[in-house]
Symmetry: C2
Subunit: 487 residues, 2 copies
């Protein structure tokens, strides 16, 4: 660990962001083959790719001679927040140049929605867009999914920069169960699993009749828990087989990736011993059966369709993916209220999902029930355990502070969206769905609507909420804290 420095190393920050822009430019070019194959103009992708890479190169060279220090906590937080903003600023350009989106506010909203793996869209007719642009749109999910930071953790070491603090900033969840002592190795391994799962899903989707383009785009959307689709009807128009494949890979994407690592290495005891994972699966199955039963009895859908539709929607919302196969707002009210409440759950820590996350919910619940025991036995010290280990008090404090900030942000967000003249359900729906990185909400931003009608200022505000939610509040809010900038 580097010792506390007296000033923030801005040259280093600019250098890392420059490098990220170089990489982003490279990623943009991967969409070009699809433009060529579908006979579209390649320039709306090539021009911004070159421009982004060029700016990145200038920033990188400009800071070439900066001392090769370890990235400290302060630099880590700044890099994480700014890199998400900067790559979204550049990533929006192809939408403008291709005339896919008419103004920059909308293009930025769509792009940060991609990179934060939210999947909230302002596009009314997705299918009218060039395929190359749609590929780039889905790719923003995939890049954001595992975190461009985790991605770059495998590259930064070439420059001799260790990134432990970055990982702390990226995954501030309570249990970053380390697979391997060296963070770089960890990042590479998690990335390997991510690529592998994306590949398997792509192949399975192609078995179901999708072409490579659609299969890749939907695999990106699923594995990143993002939910941009290439179809106006999301997954609704696809076969039950494809819907089951998407369900399975949403569950995998919402799982802590260290669980996948353990499973691949046949360490099943570690998989079974993970309380968050057990809880996650029980919740998914339990609520899906409940909602499925409700659909079967109240809406008189066929049995298989009830269970499939329910499972799809529950998994999609809990993992914060946001794909839809049905308009859940047309369900009996109690069922869509369940869907709305699930927007406050979220997947496992260390997954690509957003939201409050399962482990936090568990610690919150455990603390509350433990408090009742504490009141009965005021003299006893009753610790809170997770995976049979006592959780230190400072982690409980952090989780509780997170929850309070989350609810505060939700309340103030609702108020802000109300000021813009949205109706009540659209206001709370849009805030819950963007802060939780889900995508579709309730009211005017429900599963068959989108964010096109949100006023200009609202789109920038919701963009901020997506960033806030994706970076687990603290990473962004700490930059607003005076204590951060002191000394």
């Amino acid at each position: 660990m580097a010792k506390m420095r007296s000033s923030i190393n801005f040259r280093l920050i600019i250098k890392v962001i420059g490098l990220l822009l170089l990489i982003e430019g490279g990623f943009m070019l991967t969409a070009v083959p699809f433009s060529l194959y579908y006979g579209e103009s390649i320039w709306p992708l090539v021009i911004p790719a070159i421009f982004t890479a060029f700016i990145g190169l200038i920033l990188y060279l400009f800071t070439w001679k900066s001392r090769q220090l370890n990235i400290g906590k302060h630099e880590g937080y700044i890099i994480v927040t700014f890199s998400w903003v900067v790559i979204s600023l550049f990533g929006a350009i192809p939408f403008i140049l291709s005339n896919s989106i008419g103004n920059y506010s909308d293009a930025f909203f769509e792009t940060i929605s991609g990179f934060t793996t939210t999947g909230a869209s302002i596009l009314k007719d997705i299918e009218s867009l060039p395929k190359g642009i749609l590929f780039w749109r889905s790719l923003t999910h995939w890049i954001g999914g595992m975190g461009i930071i985790v991605l770059s953790l495998a590259i930064l070491p070439i420059l001799g920069i260790g990134g432990m603090q970055l990982f702390v900033a990226e995954v501030p969840g309570p249990t970053p169960d380390k697979i391997h002592p060296r963070i770089t190795q960890t990042a590479k391994r998690l990335w390997g699993i991510y690529v592998m799962l994306t590949g398997i899903q792509t192949i399975l989707l192609m078995f179901g009749g999708m072409n490579l383009f659609n299969a890749l785009c939907h695999a990106f959307g699923t594995m990143a828990t993002g939910a941009f689709s290439t179809q106006n009807t999301s997954i609704a128009g696809y076969s039950p087989y494809i819907q089951y494949v998407v369900i399975l890979f949403m569950i995998l994407a919402g799982t802590n990736f260290t669980i996948h690592y353990h499973a691949l290495h046949r360490q099943f005891k570690k998989v079974r011993g993970n309380e968050e994972y057990r809880n996650y699966l029980f919740l998914l199955i339990g609520i899906s059966l409940l909602v499925g039963g409700g659909l079967f009895f109240l809406s008189e859908l066929p049995f298989e369709e009830s269970i499939r539709t329910s499972l799809f929607q529950v998994v999609s919302i809990v993992t914060t993916t946001g794909y839809v196969t049905t308009n859940y707002l047309a369900w009996p009210m109690v069922l869509w209220v369940i869907i709305f409440l699930l927007m406050f759950t979220g997947g496992c820590t260390g997954s690509t999902g957003g939201g409050i996350k399962m482990v936090r919910q568990m610690l919150l619940f455990k603390n509350s029930t433990t408090e009742l025991k504490r009141l009965v036995h005021p003299m006893a010290i009753i610790p809170i355990r997770l995976n049979r280990k006592v959780i230190p008090q400072n982690i409980i404090f952090n989780v509780l502070a997170f929850f309070v900030l989350y609810m505060l942000t939700f309340a103030f967000g609702t108020l802000f969206m109300s000021i813009l003249g949205l109706d009540f359900q659209t206001a709370i729906g849009s805030v819950a769905a963007t802060l939780g990185n889900i995508g579709p909400g309730i009211g005017g931003v429900g599963p068959v609507e989108n964010y096109a009608a949100i006023p200009f200022v609202g789109k920038w505000f919701l963009s901020f909420l997506m960033l806030l939610g994706r970076l687990e509040l603290f990473t962004v809010l700490i930059l607003l804290s005076p204590a951060f900038w002191r000394r």
Copy 2:
């Protein structure tokens, strides 16, 4: 302090509840003079008064020979919860006998709404009720207001029963700043202030043209932060003078009563030093100006009326009183969303107000901002202070557990009310307004509507939420905890 006993003393619990029923019967009789004066039948009051007192006497005599032990924690919790339920069960009888309310579910709802100082009503035409019954209705507020428990703290000592634990159960708020080491004295003093303020308000209301009956009923409703009125239009039909009087006494009722005690004893330094009180006043003034400005500019009301209406509604909701002078749901949406969010604030600890309460909000907010500082300086121990004193960690845990349970109850309550077929706004409005002991909510239970249309099961459920909110969750929930009943 009594040492831990191995079993719960049920004889003692029954004895105390018997005594409370005796007192309740006596209170019922105080409504009889109004029945006589207005030429109504006195039997709907006299019969239940005698019946209630008789049952109380039997319970009391039945347990006469129980040992005169101190009331332990366990007995305290049971007494508090059950006494609220039992006096509501008996208190509902006059509504039935007078044919004011057609069925017992509705009568119980109205009565527990009174005793919990919620003020949620199922009556469609209040003015058609006999005056004696309306007086009893308002009196339930007044009895519940200071807490029948605190009331009885001044009487129990005659039986040689000390009640320290009762006070703990009644006011589990974080800072029961003791005025006097002896709890009985404290209760008597707080009760004296309560009676005095009620008296002053009654006189001030009579100056404004109210007769004694209306003045007393509205003073009961104000000082208890309850809000039952004798008029169908609540306070809307009264003069601005009366509205200002009600505003002032709502503020006083939502203030920690130890503040009043200090003020009466000219200990102004203690008054000024109270952070919760300062925060409470700043919030009331700040939000009132904001909403008042909104009304002035958006609704084009006259300036004085904008400020008065805003002040009245903000104070009414923050103190969890629930009186109305206007249909706030007809305001521009952002303004009534502010009102809705204020339903999650609540007055000061040690006041008659319900809800989450100011001091908890402050500790929640401080913990979250402190967490940001802790992330910047992970090695530093940064305590949370209130009134310049360091708050012990176990109190922070309790407050955070309270908040989580409150939000969980709110979420599950909304779900439950949705199952009953209520629309979304009515579901969240009815739960927020009963759990917070406020009264009017949003949607179908807004300020010009009431709870008459809520289904039968919903009324019992909301009755439970009123109890839960009034007894600060833990007091009731602890009875559901297996640890409580073990050994």
